[in-house]
């Protein structure tokens, strides 16, 4: 296809992608089960959970939608609230312009499937040597979404009857973020971004509260890091 003719596309990319995505497997399946269960309890048929996780694929927005749909909220208002929750994703791609720019066949899917967790893995974890980048990115993204779809469907179909006490297993996603932060600290050894983001998060939590703080915190971080341009380069 290109000058990476020797790179592996198939099983080794899938294996590397699976290994990188195991933490997401734990988190997405369990949180997906909670989502599916909640949606069915709110009165929707089970397959809505599957379809929503296939199409929308945005965890926080999907949880929000459960209550809004049950209340018959207008579609325009649901769209605006989705925009508020997912506006943070508008800046995620900035760090992936080059990496996704080199992708061809699956670029559209990679952009569609860019959740917080997938973003964290793709910006932090390097594909093993010899593994084609686009195949690795696609494997991670596709596996992550499959975990979410499978979890949602299980939750919608049998969620109430599951015998396993999985309370707390979603800490795996917090742990994943901590691991990715440690990896970032290893590669970006400057104090400013971490301090700016900490102040921004604290201010956002105080000002707008825990429901909508993410977009404010990320915007404030980006504005807050601008004055450090000379010092950091």
């Amino acid at each position: 296809m290109d000058n990476q003719g020797a790179a592996h596309h198939g099983p080794s990319a899938l294996r590397a992608g699976f290994k990188a995505s195991i933490p997401v497997l734990l988190g997405y399946v369990t949180i997906g089960i909670a989502f599916g269960l909640l949606l069915v309890k709110s009165g929707q048929p089970w397959w809505i959970a599957t379809v929503m996780s296939l199409l929308v694929y945005a965890g926080a927005a999907q949880f929000m939608a459960v209550g809004l749909l049950a209340a018959g909220t207008g579609i325009a208002q649901i769209a605006v609230l989705t925009l508020v929750i997912n506006a943070r994703h508008m800046v995620y791609g900035l760090s992936l312009l080059d990496r996704f720019g080199a992708c061809r066949r699956f670029k559209s899917y990679l952009v569609f499937a860019l959740t917080d967790e997938t973003y964290g893995i793709l910006t932090t974890v390097q594909p093993p040597p010899g593994v084609d980048r686009e195949s690795f990115y696609t494997a991670v993204s596709g596996l992550d979404q499959s975990y979410w779809v499978i979890g949602s469907t299980i939750g919608a179909l049998v969620g109430g009857a599951l015998p396993f006490d999985s309370r707390g297993i979603d800490f795996a996603l917090t742990a994943l973020f901590i691991v990715l932060l440690v990896e970032q600290i290893r590669s970006v050894k400057k104090a400013a971004p971490y301090l700016v983001a900490t102040v921004a998060t604290g201010a956002a939590l105080l000002l707008v509260g825990p429901v909508n703080f993410l977009v404010v915190a990320i915007l404030a971080s980006i504005i807050g890091i601008l004055p450090f341009r000379k010092a950091l380069s």
Partner: protein, 105 residues
């Protein structure tokens, strides 16, 4: 009923895709300016910081167990990862400790 739900899901899909695609659409033809080149380097560490701190947003430090399970498990994850640098070990050990602590504390 189902037309309403499907319509709402399609609207949510369109908005989410638009959010995720914005930077790619915006810089499809033109080269990103130098300030974007600067920002894209520091956005990942800042976003990971926000996401980690945000994970603790619903922890009530005032009431028992005062966020001890979250903080202890979080420190174990960070410490183990600094020491062994084995992603799965760090995540499994931290999650197992957290699941244990919230049951015994």
């Amino acid at each position: 009923m189902n037309t309403y739900v499907l319509g709402a899901m399609l609207a949510m899909t369109a908005v989410t895709v638009l959010c995720r695609a914005t930077p790619f659409l915006f810089f499809m033809k033109r080269r990103p300016p130098a300030v974007v080149d600067y920002l894209q380097r520091y956005i990942p560490p800042m976003i990971m910081t926000v996401l980690v701190l945000g994970s603790f947003k619903n922890v009530s430090f005032a009431a028992a167990p005062h966020g001890v399970p979250e903080l202890a498990a979080g420190l174990v994850v960070a410490g183990l990862h600094l020491w062994k640098r084995n992603t799965l070990l760090s995540i499994f050990a931290g999650t197992a400790l957290y699941m244990l602590l919230i049951r015994v504390m």
